[in-house]
């Protein structure tokens, strides 16, 4: 009897030993929110894509420097003699998790699915006219016109298996209204480096390494336990108490404490996202202002005064604890079209700011409400709060209205706000993405996030021309020209580019990804 | 001479308050002989009920017995530890409360309450106790007792409940029953029945009764002796017939005026002008002096002592000044 117990405990002991050995390659990865869905074309949202990148793969990828790298496509080029057609050469010998071979028909299927009506990825493929398979490993994408930058749009469009999708009735992206459950929301069959083992939404997901993955170097992490922890303090506490290995969304104020803690290190790096303020243009008086006969924001002098009143360096030093890159242009450095000259911003000059206000006819300043999100960007509410104080010093009396992003962003898209904060990421790494949505007049699919209703017909024409311009040099010149106007006109009031911070167990190395899409395949262990 | 069943000597009950000490019962003494029924009468707040509670050792804090002794069958019981006292309560002295509606625990069956009490005091089995309980209920006049014993209190009428209360008070065969206004809360029509039941059962068991009431009519019909209390003191004590016929204390004589109206409420007594003083504002001298028709100067200065005026009769009034020659009451009264 006693011997039995002994041998039993020995067995238990040895099994725990095995487990702990295996867990040396397990990584517990915490971030603020879970992927919304596993259907890769259903939501165009950061955490959802980040998760999907481990299970599914895209034709091309972007590395930490922001350059495109081959993934399921080994090369891509504009077809000779057909400037509106892109040709993609696919990787051979790739299989899906269920063993099916990856071929051109899967790419055709997935691109068609991604640009179908119910897909949330549709906007990125809006210029696609037709996708055809030339042979098993070549795909042609014909655009409605020359689209020199289309490959930039493909970094988050995942490839699904056509046969699997048909067999499981997920050819269409899930339709909410139909009220039907969609197999693809909870099940996956990708080509990616990890296979989904289990998933409890908002609680934990477990992924294990895909031994049949095509990449030559096998990832060091063999098991991922993904843990969404929404409360920032709890998230940090979990890392401090050793319950997780990586925290992806680290509050800036905790960076110092975490890096000062034994066994924990923090990696920081620039994110491809700019934080800015927008204001209402036009002659109509502002709804929230005490000035009822004119719109102060419409005066260039007022906009200049505001820029001169805002101390970007103080925001960086105190609110962001040094974790930001103040900027004078609403365009992150990763994006083509960014220059150091544009990035420069004026020094604070309160006297000049007050003089400008007086000159514009507002010697006593004015009042206005600032709408700010409070759960979207790094310290968004605190930045707005600081701006309220800074504007107060030149007599602009700002009331702060703080809301969760779900309630905030409709105010911007429906132009119900006079003065607002927003952040803009540029997944295409191209300025046109900024111009189309933020600068172009609101018409059709243009200017969707032009919350201030800025309108400049000359700029609109130039922006439209970017879409079809094939001469890259000429295009770059137009981009520069547009930026000059945007900066001179102070269309938006940029504050800084965000910095991302990942905190982790110091055995681990994980560089910061500019789109905040770190891959656990890139994790290395110190020992 | 037979030994008294209960002897109360110079009992004083006090309640400390922030304004000083209130004396609810002051220096009272009386005896109850075996089988005797002592009526205690007086207005609300005269200290009648407090006397009963004091005998039971059930005075709530911060009240306390400040002085005096309670002697039951020759044994002093006012200073017993609680565990000892519990053996006396219910077993030696039963108590009947005023309001049958509130004195029974509404959540327990009558049987449970009876059996629990019986088995607390008597070495009976559950079944024996139940049999005894049914018998008791029969005795107190509850029809169909064997079935109704398992009813809850709310299923009985007020009069029936008081019968149950009597059964509970008597179930361990006490030698003394303190009945604290047992009929006050009842309908006039059942008052007499309840008194009858109580008296009959006590007589059968040979138990004495201390009947606290403010209904002089009940006293007249029931009691052997009566103690008239006023403002915490005994104004007069003596055999019922004598006191009724010839009340010596002016207060008692006022009370007696109420007898013809059976069941009259002394609280609305109009024969004596004025009302009893508050305990906190008892006048100097005789407490009754503001209302007394015979008030003298002396009454405002000194408190009258109880004086034996006839065998078994005492009165505290300056109309009956102490006479050294009449010393027959000395055996019952400690010297002042």
């Amino acid at each position: 009897m006693t011997r039995q117990i002994l041998s039993l405990s020995a067995m238990l002991l040895s099994s725990t030993l095995i487990v702990s050995q295996a867990s040396a390659e397990t990584i517990r990865w915490a971030r603020a929110s879970d992927a919304l869905t596993l259907d890769p074309h259903s939501q165009n949202q950061g955490p959802t894509h980040n998760f999907a990148h481990h299970v599914y793969e895209t034709l091309m990828d972007r590395d930490v420097e922001g350059t495109l790298t081959p993934r399921l496509a080994t090369s891509w080029a504009i077809k000779d003699g057909a400037p509106d057609t892109w040709v993609f050469t696919l990787r051979e010998g790739v299989t899906f998790h269920d063993g099916a071979a990856f071929t051109a028909e899967d790419v055709v299927f997935s691109l068609d699915r991604a640009r179908s009506e119910k897909s949330n990825m549709r906007q990125l493929h809006v210029d696609v006219a037709e996708v055809t398979a030339v042979d098993d490993y070549t795909v042609e994408v014909r655009m409605t016109g020359p689209s020199p930058l289309y490959p930039n749009n493909l970094t988050n469009t995942f490839i699904m298996d056509k046969d699997w999708s048909e067999a499981n009735n997920v050819v269409e992206v899930q339709d909410y209204a139909a009220g039907e459950d969609n197999f693809a929301v909870r099940n996956t069959n990708g080509t990616g480096p990890y296979i989904l083992q289990s998933r409890e939404v908002d609680v934990r997901s477990v992924l294990t390494v895909n031994d049949n993955h095509w990449a030559e170097t096998k990832p060091e992490v063999t098991e991922i336990i993904y843990l969404p922890i929404s409360d920032a303090a709890t998230r940090v506490a979990a890392l401090l108490s050793g319950e997780v290995d990586i925290v992806q969304d680290v509050p800036v104020q905790d960076i110092e404490r975490l890096s000062g803690t034994d066994g924990i290190k923090v990696e920081t790096g620039a994110e491809n996202r700019v934080i800015y303020f927008g204001y209402k243009f036009g002659d109509a008086p502002l709804a929230s202002s005490n000035i009822t006969d004119s719109n102060p924001f419409n005066s260039p002098a007022v906009r200049e005064a505001m820029e001169l009143a805002i101390d970007r360096d103080a925001i960086k030093a105190v609110v962001m604890r040094g974790q930001s890159f103040p900027t004078g242009i609403p365009n992150p450095p990763f994006v083509a079209g960014w220059t150091p000259e544009l990035d420069a911003y004026p020094a604070v000059d309160l006297d000049r700011a007050k003089a400008l206000l007086a000159e514009a006819g507002y010697p006593d300043g004015f009042s206005v409400t600032l709408d700010t999100p409070n759960n979207r960007y790094v310290n968004d509410e605190a930045i707005s709060q600081a701006v309220v104080g800074m504007l107060g010093r030149i007599g602009i009396n700002v009331t702060l209205a703080s809301r969760p992003v779900a309630q905030h962003s409709p105010l911007v898209t429906s132009n119900e706000t006079d003065f607002y904060m927003l952040g803009w990421g540029v997944p295409t790494f191209d300025s046109a993405y900024v111009f189309n949505d933020l600068v172009h007049s609101k018409e059709g699919s243009y200017g969707a996030y032009n919350g201030g209703l800025y309108s400049n017909p000359a700029l609109d024409a130039m922006i439209k021309s970017l879409g079809t311009e094939t001469d890259l040099e000429a295009r770059a010149a137009t981009v520069a020209e547009i930026w000059d106007v945007v900066k001179a006109d102070r269309v938006l009031l940029p504050i800084h580019n965000q910095v991302l911070a990942y905190a982790m167990n110091d055995r681990i190395t994980l560089p910061v990804h500019p789109e905040n899409q770190p891959l656990m395949t890139s994790v290395t262990f110190a020992d | 001479m037979t030994e008294p069943l209960l002897s109360v000597r110079n009992l004083t009950v006090e309640f400390p308050t922030r304004r000083g000490i209130l004396t609810a019962v002051q220096d009272i003494s009386f005896d109850i002989m075996p089988g005797e029924v002592l009526g205690v009468v007086g207005e609300s707040g005269a200290g009648k009920s407090m006397t009963g509670s004091a005998i039971m050792g059930l005075i709530d804090r911060p009240g306390r017995i400040a002085q005096g002794e309670v002697i039951l069958q020759g044994r002093r019981i006012d200073n017993l530890p609680d565990a000892e006292m519990r053996k006396i309560r219910g077993r030696k002295i039963g108590m009947i409360f005023q309001d049958p509606l509130t004195s029974l625990n509404p959540l327990y069956r009558i049987s449970e309450q009876l059996i629990e009490t019986i088995r607390t005091h008597l070495p009976l089995s559950e079944t024996e106790a139940r049999k005894k309980a049914i018998g008791l209920l029969d005795d107190v006049g509850i029809p169909d007792a064997s079935r109704r014993i398992d009813d809850y209190p709310h299923q009985f009428s007020g009069g029936m409940r008081q019968r149950v209360v009597i059964a509970l008070a008597l179930c361990a065969g006490p030698d003394l029953v303190i009945a604290d206004e047992p009929t006050t809360a009842l309908d006039v029509s059942v008052q007499a029945q309840i008194i009858d039941v109580m008296k009959r059962l006590c007589a059968e068991n040979g138990a004495s009764i201390m009947l606290v009431t403010h209904d002089m009519g009940v006293i007249a019909e029931t009691a052997d002796c009566v103690a008239v209390m006023y403002a915490g003191r005994i104004a007069e004590i003596g055999p019922v017939r004598d006191v009724i016929k010839d009340a010596q204390h002016p207060y008692s004589s006022g009370l007696m005026g109420a007898i013809p109206r059976l069941g009259a409420n002394l609280d609305r007594l109009t024969q004596i002008p004025g009302s009893m003083p508050r305990l906190s504002a008892i006048p100097r001298g005789c407490a009754f002096n503001p209302r007394c028709p015979h008030v003298m100067d002396k009454c405002h200065i000194d408190q009258p002592q109880a004086v034996q005026t006839a065998p078994g009769r005492r009165v505290a009034c300056w109309l009956y000044p102490p006479q050294d020659s009449t010393g027959t009451n000395a055996e019952r009264q400690t010297a002042q």
Binding site: N44, Q123, V185, V201, V203, D231, E243 | G90, M95, N105
Partner: protein, 326 residues
């Protein structure tokens, strides 16, 4: 008894309809569901197409009737945020909340009654005064501060207990329990204490007040006058009578433990319906919010029913006059 339960059930239906109306109206007009369903970068015309498909452009009455009709079948649609059937989501989160609420309620009830009885029986003792003072501190501390404080002390500084989640769970059919693993039990401690504290103090103070009240009643004096033992009086007569009002209020309190769990679950990242709700509020996930509200209403209706029946069982007086509640 049957008529009584039927009447109660009818009342419950009215309550549920009332709550359904609130649930529908509130969440139909709070925020913009489309804005929360799509990323910031979705184009407006796509949003309009979704709006149409979801029936958000139909008349309000049509939408409400559709809501009631679906709710009757336990059908609350698909979560905007997670794209899963709401009923399924709530059911999958339910075990976590119920286990937490159950443990908290047990702690609150057991310690609440013990402390309440203790302080009532020893009203003058120093220990009673201490417990009473502590209970006031408990009532005065917001739940979120208690949670944060406990995490800081026991998880971060001492490292004794986990700071978040419910540890390893074991599947028992659709019920996922944390009771069967060590880490599951350890994870339960801090959130359960946090959640129970407020209810504990409430129950304790209630028991104390009721007990003091009961101890002053005539039937307790009569029981004493019959020479019953202190034990029989305190724990038989007094406690049972104390429990009658306590049952009602405690029952309702225990129901609110489930709803109260919102804050606790948020702080401890407990994967229950409360945290599901708060996340849904933040992103205006209308179907989940509506379903949650209906769920809470259902819980309360059920608890009310159980409390009524318990009352009925404990208090014989009600059995005759047909359960006239207070």
């Amino acid at each position: 008894m049957l008529a009584f339960i039927i009447r109660r059930l009818a009342q419950s239906v009215v309550v549920m309809l009332f709550v359904a109306l609130i649930a529908f109206v509130v969440f139909r007009y709070v925020g913009d569901p489309i804005a929360s369903m799509v990323g910031v970068d979705t184009r407006l015309e796509d949003q309009e197409i979704m709006r149409e498909r979801l029936g958000l452009n139909d008349s309000v009455i049509v939408q409400f009737l559709r809501f009631i009709g679906n709710a009757m079948q336990g059908e609350f649609g698909i979560s905007y945020r997670l794209q899963q059937p709401v009923t399924e989501l709530i059911l999958s989160r339910l075990p976590a909340t119920i286990e937490l609420a159950f443990v908290s309620a047990t702690i609150a009830l057991v310690f609440g009654v013990i402390f309440g009885v203790y302080t009532a029986l020893r009203p003058k003792a120093w220990s009673s005064a201490g417990i009473m003072a502590l209970s006031l501190v408990g009532v005065s501390l917001p739940t979120f501060l208690i949670g944060i404080g406990l995490i800081y002390i026991f998880a971060v500084e001492l490292g004794w207990l986990p700071s978040f989640g419910r540890g390893d769970v074991v599947d028992l059919g659709w019920w996922r329990t944390g009771f069967l693993t060590e880490s599951g039990l350890k994870s339960l401690i801090l959130p359960a204490i946090t959640l129970s504290l407020f209810q504990l103090t409430l129950i304790m103070r209630l028991v104390r007040a009721e007990m003091l009240e009961v101890l002053r009643t005539e039937y307790i004096r009569f029981a004493k006058a019959r020479g019953l033992s202190q034990r029989a009086i305190n724990f038989g007569h007094a406690l049972k009578n104390t429990m009658v009002p306590v049952i009602t209020i405690t029952g309702l309190q225990l129901g609110s433990v489930i709803a109260f769990a919102i804050v606790t679950e948020t702080v401890f990242q407990w994967p229950g319906v409360g945290s599901l709700f708060i996340v849904s509020v933040q992103v205006v996930d209308v179907p989940v919010m509506a379903a949650y509200l209906m769920f809470i209403a259902l819980v309360f209706v059920l608890i009310n029913l159980v409390v009524d029946i318990l009352y009925y069982v404990v208090d014989p007086r009600l059995r005759v006059d047909g359960g006239a509640g207070k």
